[in-house]
Subunit: 199 residues, 2 copies
DNA sequence: ATACCTTATGGTACTCAGTACCAGTAACTT
DNA sequence: AAGTTACTGGTACTGAGTACCATAAGGTAT
């Protein structure tokens, strides 16, 4: 059986903690909420909170794994050994959309997430590491699809640049963000001239 | 007068804290050292420590400002309005070397810094934000030198990619790192073919 | 069902990071 | 010399994060 009773309980507890935390953060802000309050609202012990999340900040980034999964699912899909940088970029482009799509699954929470990160400097560092993790995953996928190391890393970082500029231009709305990032990709291609990356 | 007594005292206190902290970190590791111990060794009050550094991790990244200064000094140097991506990259390349050069000013401490970050997960996030800050500064410099927004951001992120792959290949030694990053730049140019970025 | 093992829970008690507040002192100002 | 400003370090507090342990509940045998 795939989901044992324990498994289901674990999932429920985890979700309860996440929901309790985001509810409290939404009304009182991140720093004003204590772990004890989150635990009480989620009806678990304080100790249990730290079993599910290494620290208080980590709850905010609970969705990171979903985004990584979305990317890593592309490993091995449609392999193209020795692909060019242009080809790698044209694969990275929809992959970025796929990551953004995770945000649209619960747009309300995602907007809140963006607000929390923007308002609390103590979350900035962790948010940056999340982008590193996604960039690394992107590079790994491209490598698995047949890109050379340098090509994969380079394309992943160009995708990161597009994502960052996209988020800068668009608001926190995930759908708008996806479009803006995509536009940035288009601009990159136009920037170097058609086919410039394909040499 | 450029350096008042207060100014000099401040500098000395700051340096004393940094030195005390790194000495203790070197022998006992980051997490085993308490702020109180650092303050005692630096002969300042515990309260004073937090006046100079927002938190314990921040001491580890005390040199970040030097690297940023190194970059920002290039703002406005040799302006070239409307520069191409290839031109932006050829400017980013020596700029990365300049940043690495800061590490060679005190190679011993830099190696220790790298070791501390590598060994302590609690420092990973902050280290990532440092790279963001440097990348942003790089983009700002290129923009100030006349690059379009997209060109500047893109070139800065490509430089980031070169830096990351360089550090991955070279050890923690700053000189070797500079060379490896430079080699990555060369590889990027070769990757897209000569002149591919200049369209 | 019974007994047994394993895993998850939540409570207690502790350390230490980080903050608020305040009184004392040293540096600049006139 | 007197007054103002900037810096210090001490006290006292909150809250994050950890170690430990007794208890309960899920899983697994017989």
């Amino acid at each position: 059986m795939p989901t044992s009773i324990r498994e289901r309980k674990r999932r429920r507890a985890r979700e309860a903690i996440i929901k309790a935390a985001f509810d409290l953060f939404a009304t009182h802000g991140f720093s004003a909420v204590t772990v004890t309050e989150i635990a009480e609202r989620a009806e678990v012990g304080r100790t249990t909170f730290f079993r599910y999340f290494g620290d208080k900040r980590e709850v905010v980034f609970a969705d990171e794994q979903h985004m990584l999964d979305e990317l890593l699912a592309l490993e091995g899909v449609d392999p193209l050994p020795g692909m060019t940088l242009a080809q790698a970029l044209s694969r990275a482009r929809p992959a970025v959309r796929a990551v953004c799509a995770v945000g649209t699954r619960d747009a309300g929470r995602y907007v809140l997430y963006e607000r929390l990160v923007a308002d609390n400097p103590e979350l900035h560092d962790r948010a940056e590491r999340k982008l590193l993790a996604l960039t690394d995953a992107m590079a790994r996928v491209l490598r698995a699809q047949g890109a050379a190391d340098a090509t994969a890393v380079l394309a992943a970082h160009i995708a990161l640049a597009c994502f960052r500029t996209g988020r800068l231009l668009a608001g926190p709305d995930p759908a708008a963000l996806a479009d803006a990032a995509d536009a940035a990709f288009a601009e990159v291609e136009a920037l170097a001239g058609a086919g410039a990356f394909s040499r």
